[in-house]
């Protein structure tokens, strides 16, 4: 079970809010709806947040 500090969690919430607003979509908007209608923008967005999230999890494991 991931146990992150509450301050990290607040930072993560801010990043998710800012990021999804700038990108106009999240896992549902780009990952499901956008990909389902074959949108190139959504493909780029989905690949970007997937790869970045995988790297982030890897880095976070190293920090613990």
């Amino acid at each position: 079970v991931p146990s992150v500090d509450l301050s990290w969690l607040i930072g993560a919430g801010l990043l998710v809010g800012v990021g999804t607003t700038l990108a106009n979509g999240c896992t549902s908007g780009h990952g499901i709806c956008g990909l389902s209608r074959l949108s190139p923008r959504s493909l780029v967005a989905t690949l970007t947040f997937m790869v970045v999230a995988i790297i982030t999890v890897y880095v976070m494991k190293g920090l613990k």
């Binding site: 079970v1 991931p2 992150v4 509450l6 990290w8 969690l9 607040i10 930072g11 993560a12 919430g13 801010l14 990043l15 998710v16 809010g17 800012v18 990021g19 999804t20 607003t21 700038l22 990108a23 106009n24 999240c26 896992t27 549902s28 780009h30 990952g31 499901i32 709806c33 990909l35 389902s36 209608r37 074959l38 949108s39 190139p40 923008r41 780029v44 967005a45 989905t46 970007t48 947040f49 997937m50 790869v51 970045v52 999230a53 995988i54 790297i55 982030t56 999890v57 890897y58 880095v59 976070m60 494991k61």
Partner: protein
């Protein structure tokens, strides 16, 4: 059927799907993203299943669904925003939908995350509004 009712039913189905599939549990999400460690691939089926149903549904709706677009429309806002989102998602295991359904447990973590997320959304909207009116 009123639009409100349709939105309510769609929300109910989506919330059920997220809850039943375990997407509302950040441990599952982090396990899915942890491809170099103790990888938990179950969410592939959540994404894949969702994609399949939506793809077929959109095909069925036909012309009502906007299609097209091109890679030329990819900009820094899209890539940068997605990257920021990816960092936040990787740290917490919450993306916006699951963060919403996690609220029902009333956990401090879910509430804190949710409030911070709303603050991030409001801040970004306010900033882009300001920038738009400056130019």
């Amino acid at each position: 059927m009123g639009k409100l009712l349709i939105a309510g039913v769609a929300g109910l189905i989506m919330g059920l799907g997220l809850a039943v599939s375990g997407m509302g549990n950040p441990a599952n999400v982090i396990g899915f993203l942890d491809i170099t460690g103790n990888w938990n691939p179950s969410l592939i089926f959540v994404m894949g299943g969702g994609l399949m149903v939506t793809f077929i549904g959109f095909k069925w709706l036909g012309a009502k669904v906007p299609t097209g677009g091109s890679f030329k429309e990819v900009d820094l806002k899209l890539v940068g925003g997605s990257a920021l989102f990816g960092v936040g998602w990787g740290i917490s295991g919450y993306c916006p939908g699951p963060a919403l359904i996690a609220l029902d447990g009333g956990s401090t973590k879910a509430i804190l995350f949710f409030v911070a997320m709303i603050a991030g959304i409001a801040l970004t909207q306010a900033m882009s509004h300001l920038l738009k009116h400056k130019n």
